[in-house]
C-alpha cells in the first residue's frame, strides 16, 4: 500500500483560495489510509469551512472519487464528464495520482492534498503504518528470511549487523513525526540483521547469513524508471 498523510489544511487552502469551483478527487486504489468518497466529502466540507473562516465565501467544493487515480484511462473516463465549470482539482491520491491527473487534464490546475510517504503495511491493532519496501528493484527477501534489510536497516547494509546493534536493538530509533516534521515520539527498533539472523536460524538456513553480498547495482533503482508491460 502507498501510505499517505493529509497535508496541513493551511497549505491546501493556500493552493485553493484563488479558485471558485474545486473538484476534490479521492482514490479508491491502494492509498493507505483509504482516501475514498467519504474522505473527499470530508475535505470538501473542511475546505469550504476553512475558506469561509478565512473570508472567502464563494469557494465551492464538489467531491468525487476514482477507482484508481494512477490509471489515466480510468481517470479520463470517470472525471471528464464531471469537469464542467471546475477551475481546480484537489487530488487525495499519492503523488502518482496527482501527476496522472496533471497529464490527463493539462488545462486544469491539479493540487496535491496528501503527502506521499512510503510503501508500507498497516498493523491494525496499534493502528500504525510501517514502511516495508523501498522498491529497490532487486528483491533479496529470499535470502534474508523475508525481512528486508534495505528498508529496515537505516544504513541499508547487505552484510550486517553493524556495530550499532546493541542487544538486538538498532542504535537509530523509529521516529514518529507530526505534520510539521517535528518528532513527537521515538520508539526503540529491532536491528534488522539481528531479526534476519534469528529468522534464518529458525529456518535452519544460517548458510545464507554467511553468504557475502557485493554492493547493490544502484543503476537498477535510479530514477526515473521505465518499464514495459508485457
Amino acid at each position: 500500500m502507498i501510505v499517505v498523510k493529509g497535508k496541513p489544511l493551511d497549505e491546501i487552502l493556500s493552493f485553493l483560495l484563488p479558485y471558485k469551483n474545486v473538484l476534490i478527487v479521492g482514490c479508491d486504489g491502494c492509498t493507505q489510509p483509504p482516501r475514498g468518497l467519504r474522505e473527499a466529502m470530508t475535505y470538501a466540507m473542511l475546505v469550504e469551512m476553512g475558506a469561509k473562516l478565512r473570508g472567502k465565501t464563494d469557494l465551492k467544493c464538489r467531491a468525487t472519487t476514482v477507482a484508481k487515480q494512477c490509471d489515466n484511462h480510468i481517470c479520463s473516463t470517470t472525471l471528464t464528464p464531471q469537469l464542467e465549470g471546475v477551475d481546480a482539482i484537489l487530488s487525495l491520491a499519492c503523488g502518482v495520482g496527482v501527476q496522472t491527473l496533471v497529464e490527463v487534464f493539462p488545462e486544469v490546475p491539479v493540487y496535491p492534498g496528501q503527502n506521499t510517504t512510503f510503501i508500507g503495511s498497516q498493523e491494525r491493532e496499534g493502528s500504525m503504518l510501517y514502511e516495508k519496501c523501498k522498491a529497490c528493484g532487486e528483491c533479496l527477501l529470499g535470502e534474508t528470511g523475508g525481512i528486508c534489510p534495505i528498508t529496515n536497516c537505516p544504513k541499508g547494509i547487505l552484510n550486517g549487523p553493524c556495530g550499532g546493534c546493541v542487544d538486538g536493538k538498532c542504535e537509530v530509533p523509529f521516529e514518529i513525526r507530526d505534520e510539521t516534521g517535528k518528532v513527537v515520539k521515538t520508539v526503540a527498533k529491532d536491528c534488522a540483521w539481528y531479526l534476519i539472523y534469528q529468522r534464518l536460524k529458525k529456518l535452519n538456513r544460517l548458510d545464507l547469513f554467511r553468504k557475502y553480498r557485493p554492493p547493490r547495482n544502484r543503476a537498477i533503482s535510479s530514477s526515473p524508471r521505465l518499464m514495459e508491460v508485457v
Binding site: L37, M41, M49
Partner: protein
Amino acid sequence: MLAENSVRIRNEYCSKCLICSSICPFEAISIDKETGEILLNIEKCQVCGICFSACPSSSIDIAYYKTDILSEYIRRARKDNLILVCRGAVIRPELRERLEKQGVLNNFIQWYVPCIGRIPLELLLRALEGGVKRIVIVPCEDNKCRFKFGSNVGLSRLLLLQELLSQIGLNHGVLSFARSSIRAYINRNRCIGCGNCAYICPSNAARLVSPGVAEIDGAACSGCGACTAVCPSLAINLESFENKVILEEISRHRQLISDLRAKGLPAVAVFYCHWASFPALDEYGAYAKENVVFFEVPCSSIINPLYILRAFYEGFDGALVMACRKSECKFERGNELAERQVNAIKNLLRQVGLEGRLEICFVSPKYLGEAEHQIKLFMDKVAAMVGVSK
C-alpha cells in the same frame, strides 16, 4: 460528582424474594447476609430495568420511562394501537407492510424503549384497560440483546400474558410480537475492499472475501455501526441510521440555527449513544426547547467525520458526542473507537480554525442528571467561545 442514582431499591417494601438478584444480567444486585438488605452495586448496574419489571412488590424505582407516566400518556392519547420497539430493533419494510395490512399503522403510538425486558406487564394491561386495542412488540433477536437476556425475559413474560389474555377471552392478536434487530448492510458495488469493516467489527460479521469485496453476515451483525464509520466509500449503512438519513437530519436544522444566530444563541449538536443516556419522554422535550439539538446514534462508534463536519458546515457552533462509560459499551469497545475518531476529527477542526468546538464525554444513565450536566458544561464552554452570553 452528581451522585443520585437512577435505580433504587426500597428495602422497606422488599419481600426478599431475590428475583432481582437472580435475574440481573450484570450481577449488580446482592443481599447483605447479616442485615438481609438488598444491595445494588451501581457501578455494575447498566440501568436495563429488567429487575424493575420483574419485582413483584414494586420496590425497585427507576427514573426513566416510569410506568405511571407512560400509562397516563397512553390513556390521554386515546389511540387504538401501541407499538413498542426496542432501541436495538427496527421495523423493516416487510414488517411494516404486515402491520399495515393488519391495520396497526393507523391511529397508533410508537415508542422506542431501551429494552423490552424492562416493560412491566402492568403497563400493557393498563394500556389495554385505557382503550388500546392492539399491542405490537418488536424486541431484538436472540443473542443480540444489549442487556444479555432482556429480550428473552421480556418475550417469555409476553407469552405468559398472551396466555392469560386468551383465558379471559381476548384473542391472540391483541398482543403480538416480531423479533427484528438492526443490521448493517453493504452496497457491494461501492465497496473498495479496504478491509476496515472486517477489522473493526466486534461480532465478526463483516469479512473481506475474494475478489476484494466485503460481506456482512446479517445474522451475526450486532448493529453497532462501527463498520459504517470506518468505511471510506460509504458502502455500508445501518438500518434506520443510514448515513443519508443522519446527514439529512443534521441539515434539517439550518433554519433553527439561523434563528438562534439572530437571537445571539449558540447552537449545539449532541450526538448521543442511545444506551449512554435515556432522555425520557418528558425530559427530552424540555431539552429540545433549548438551543441543543439531539441526534440519536446506536453506538458512539458510528460517529464519522462526515456527521461532525456536516454539523459545523450547517452552522452548529459546537458538537458533543456522548458515549458510554469505559467498560460499559454494549459493543465491547465502541466508545474507545469513538474517542479515537473524535480525536482525529478534532485535529482536522483545529486546522480549519475551530479548535475546542468538539468534545466527547462518557456518561451513564445510572447517575441522574449526568448527561444534562455534561451538556451544560459544554454549552457554557461553547457560549464563552462564541463570545455571546447564554
